[in-house]
Amino acid sequence: MSLPGWLTVERRPAPSAWVVFGISFAAIIAALVAAGIFFQAYGVSPFRAYGDILRGALGSELGLTETIRRMIPLLVIGIGLAVAFRALFWNIGADGQLLIGAVAASGIALFSGIPDPLLIPAMFLGGFLGGAAWGVVPAFLKARLGINDVITTLMLNYVAISIVEWLIHGPWKGPTMRGFAYTDKFPAAAVLPTIATTRIHWPTLLIGLVAAAIFFLLVQRTRLGFEIRVVGENPYAARFSGISRTKVTVLAMVISGGLAGIAGVGEVAGIHHMLLGPSHISLGYGYTAIIVAWLARRNPLAVIVTSFLFGVIMRGGDVIKVSLGLPFQLVNVFNGLILFFLIGSEILMRYRIRIGRREAA
């Protein structure tokens, strides 16, 4: 690439938080403009579409609470992905981990016979363990056998989908559901409380907010957080300083898979009150949360902000489905575009263009 002589491209020293924020913000705006062009080409006014999305997601009490409802799983999963991505473990399998968490919670809710007051805590614990177990398999395969994590985590998504399908069509099909492919309704003691008449199941939201703080401290201040960073950034240094790659990878995936499992508990116990079709339990939260974590620069606290932003986008998908008759799949177009512009803009964080000739080194 040749530039006019009075412009120089030079390496930027570690970019400040404001530079990162500014560039990320500009990237999102650019992605929204690109999506606007797509709207226009599709024959929908982009101004009308964005107006509808903003009004529908933020402009009313119902809209805002529905946005938060969508934000909850993104928040909980996003924190875990931020941790996994720090260890450079590509957990693309959060959707499957979420489903296995939902399966574990449903099994406990329907069949365990645990006394009422302990039922919800047991479901959260079971969901965490289920999601963690689903996530630890690829962690072991990568740490021990060097097997590509993207592929294994993704393949296990499809396996988890089929397990849920099998359960609701087969052994767990609810006798009281008149032939529909659902389990029976959860007993009342297994249903999460919500804020007033909204669908905000606050226990899950609270877990998410507390987890954001805890894991922020974990990655910034603890020995394990340090080891996770070293394994991610410099596996050779990790080996020579005696850090166990297997231990660190597995722990990062216990956290990541476990949190995704908790998101699954929230969806079945807080929203649906039964186990149902996988595409109803998760609208691709596990995939959207990848962008949530990436945009947050793998910082668990920043995930609170970015998960809200993507809550708006997912709610926006609901809104324009109704107001403009566009398929919910549009959310994936937004997601893909935002992700492209984000990673494309990262070169601006590493380099800057300056006016003036390069000084002799």
Binding site: T152, Y158, V159, P327, G344
Partner: protein, 309 residues
Amino acid sequence: MTWESWIVATVSRTLAYGTPLLLATLGEIYAERSGVLNLGVEGMMVVGALSAFAVAYTTGNPWLGVLVSAAVGGAFSLIHAFASVTLRANQVVSGLALTMLGLGLSGVLGRRWEGWPLLTPVKEVSVPVLGKIPVLGPALFEGQNLLVYVGMALAVVLWFVLYKTRIGITIRSVGEDPATADSLGVNVSRVRYLCVLVGGILAGVAGGYLSVAYRPSWTDGMTAGMGWIVIALTIFAFWNPLLGMVGAYFFAMLFHLSFRLQAWLAPELLKTMPYVFAIVVLVLVSKGTLQKRMGAPSALTIPYSRGED
């Protein structure tokens, strides 16, 4: 069922299902050999499938559909090439973004084509003379479409190019040691762009095969994870086109045979077979010292920039 007809059915279903896997795997092998991991295969396949169907449905010409799917898949792959080669962005994330974009766009744009059968699919051909050989004839040379043979021929040609020609040496050197290739006058960026483009074209055609030949119709998300199986196949082919052919057909055969377990296993669980196989096979090929000798291209996923880092 006689054993002859059993073999004929197994082989012919294996070829039919293995062909899209083979085409896309060959493309991904080329992209990765040049040092670019493209996780957007699923996205490129699905836009290829939709565009092929839309064109074939509108014009009545399935081959025009296949041609367009090649162009659309190729164009789509250039987004990834731009992000990962020119902007040196993270290849894992860029590929995922491509898949999201492809699934999203095809989901939105494909809604009007949903559920219409294609009345003019790619026709089946029978090879004269060879089709008359007992058992093998009907298995290999009857009732398949041309793309099946195109896939086989491509595997051989692409193997030859990669290992026996100058172009192949150039591609492999760019994937192994771009700095040295650069110093010898190879344009690293151009080689990578072209290889990613080859990957996109083949993934597009693989998608087109699904919607105008294999199952002549369009349904949202009809690639159903095949693009990810392709990523796995590329690894267990050790980045070798001929082994890619063996892998794609072997995989397709396992997939087909698993349907014979229907009597014992719920259909929902049968659907997990390809994914479970993929993981199991990855575990098997990871064993031993094989990996050290026939591992991934050294510069895979590493962006190249001259004189830095």
